[in-house]
Symmetry: D2
Subunit: 224 residues, 4 copies
């Protein structure tokens, strides 16, 4: 697995129409442009069926989800080998919109290791951040569910949860950096997150659904 | 939605390595070749991340699964619009390896209608075939779970379940044709299925993992 | 299975504290009293751990959920034999707060038949009412999810969905009566439901959380 | 919460007919008798609907599962308050037959703390044992899934996984003792488990389905 340079900006395309198909490609190009101009790692996280065309824009791509199972009888499941083959270099695991059992999270991390792709395990509070860190993913991303999609940035609304998660993960495994998400969209939110010890941000609607996603993304990375 | 000419051969790529990435493309080409030579509709059902390159082989492509939700906050879910945009013209729903709640099956069928793609709802016995038919999908595919992957063809091992499912669906809605699956791999299995009233077959390992998938597929359609 | 005299009033205790433990027993007694006075069948639907003491009040009791599996390795699951042994004479299946896959609904109905207990399968719209009726449960209960817990009675807010569901079930199987739920709490809601062809009502918060549940229940059955 | 004296013997009744209804009560009496005679804590884990009558035998009782949600709209779910009110003093969480998402495990532990009942979180390997320990339950019980129900005792078949889990939990939180399960049924299995650092065992079929459960249970605790 190639080492990812922090701070990371991880842009989750979710299933937004504004980030599906041709729109996904356009957004991938924006990520690629802003990343090059700002010298910041920006990762695009499109739907599975859009991984290939988004990879072609040159932006590093993560899958939104993988299953832990090995190849075989997994109709409708997401095989680690398949997304890696499509060009993804990493994956979200256990996003709040795609929760997995503890055993499945562990299996998905192992599937990612098996295929040499990076992992960001999502958590919802400090306790589950610790548990996620104990599984040794490449990153844990804490997103308090009550702030997701609100536009209220976690880094200013609830700074203790960000610094608490950073400390908690550190206490379990010093090699597991923490990202934070929920409500992040502006440069000041990003700066606040980094000052609290986060190594990057996970964000979605604040950029994807912005009137001008490129301007929004440039603002996000402007203060770093 | 374009009308699909029956009998249908629906080839589920599952998450077999033999049907992932480059192998998926190769298998799509085989489907495309055999379909053209034999004059039989063969549908390829690859993983989401392989839909685009398989579509390029010219074979009609179905997704393995879609979620019923509309566009938005659906990280890790499969949006009907996304697979349609990738080139899929239909989808499996409720495969035995990706079971959905009754409400989700109904929602997925509505999502497919909204995006004008065809639906094959999978069922496991005569009762659930009736229930599935009541939701008015384009096809119901009955697969007795105890025969899946065994190589024992449902059409000879349990012919009553195939004819029973055909009659049951007919009793609910004469416009919902039945496919049958589980253990199908040879021309005689296919013929037996059609004689029992099925309008096609859903199959996977018998072709995907055959030593020579093209020969296996040619044998399958040889007696029609 | 003993035949249940319609119209039915089915009172879902959910996991309300007002209907847990001693409160469940008190509410069971109220159901029993009102049922006797009004000559109307009232069914209490407590949590599993409260089935036994509520049965002792003399009210007929249904479980909130059963699993379809047979006895064995089912830690944390609800065995049909266990709730029947505890005194339940029926069960809800596929409530909107405990959705099951289509195959599981079918299996749960079979488990109920095996143990000779009655079944009410919940549905969320007309299409899923048809599908549920095709599985031949003893009742289908339609509850439009957008009205659950609102206090807006489905029988007046959306009468077409009630009469549509009654007709739809009838079209599939004339022996499957329809109950309706969501927002029902007053005598006039009940009367409206019966006039639309429903054979009873499924209700919860309107009675359970009423300041005086006995008075609320008496009002509910006052116009029949 | 009352402190539980270790070593613990936790007997999971699952949904075995041999441990349902009257059989559950009889088995509870056996647990109670053997516990008193041997001076060992034996915990009975019956189905929800059997908690009350098993509690009356005098044996300490755990639930097989609780949900994390608070009281309210949880039809078919298991409220911590309900099982506590029925007399349970603890609960299994995340048994391999009732897996939960990471967020649900955390919520269930919080629900148990809220109601002052003890928690045993089940795990399937060393990594998930660490993660479970990070959530601070009262116990973690490791059960390698490949050995469950085989009669091959984990403590002799795979001693490293037991001692590894003990060390792993210790490394995360020295206050979280480890139980082990899978294949345990004899006194020598129990002794081996304790020598490897486990503070008790979780077992089921080896006792529940033994020709003479009382003799089997007496043998289990005979060497301590």
């Amino acid at each position: 697995m190639k080492q990812l340079k922090t701070p990371l900006v991880v842009l989750n395309f979710k299933t937004y129409i504004e980030a599906t198909g041709k729109n996904a490609v356009r957004l991938g190009e924006i990520c690629s442009d802003v990343s090059r101009d700002a010298g910041i790692t920006i990762i695009a996280v499109p739907q599975s069926s859009d991984i290939r065309p988004v990879v072609e824009t040159g932006v590093p791509v993560f899958a939104q989800h993988i299953d832990g199972a090995s190849a075989g009888s997994g109709t409708g499941h997401v095989l680690a080998e398949a997304v890696r083959d499509a060009g993804a270099i990493g994956t979200l695991i256990n996003h709040s919109e795609r929760r997995l059992t503890l055993a499945e999270i562990d299996a998905a991390i192992r599937a990612a290791r098996r295929t040499d792709i990076a992992t960001i395990v999502c958590s919802n509070n400090i306790a589950t951040t610790k548990a996620a860190a104990a599984l040794k993913p490449d990153f844990v991303a804490i997103e308090p569910p009550e702030l997701i999609g609100t536009g209220i940035p976690v880094s200013t609304a609830d700074p203790e949860i960000v610094s608490g998660a950073v400390d908690a993960a550190l206490g379990i495994d010093p090699d597991v950096p923490v990202l934070c998400g929920a409500g992040i969209s502006k440069g000041e939110d990003m700066t606040a997150a980094l000052e609290l010890g986060a190594k990057g941000v996970l964000l979605a609607s604040g950029i994807v659904r912005a009137p001008d996603p490129k301007a929004a993304l440039m603002d996000l990375v402007s203060e770093i």
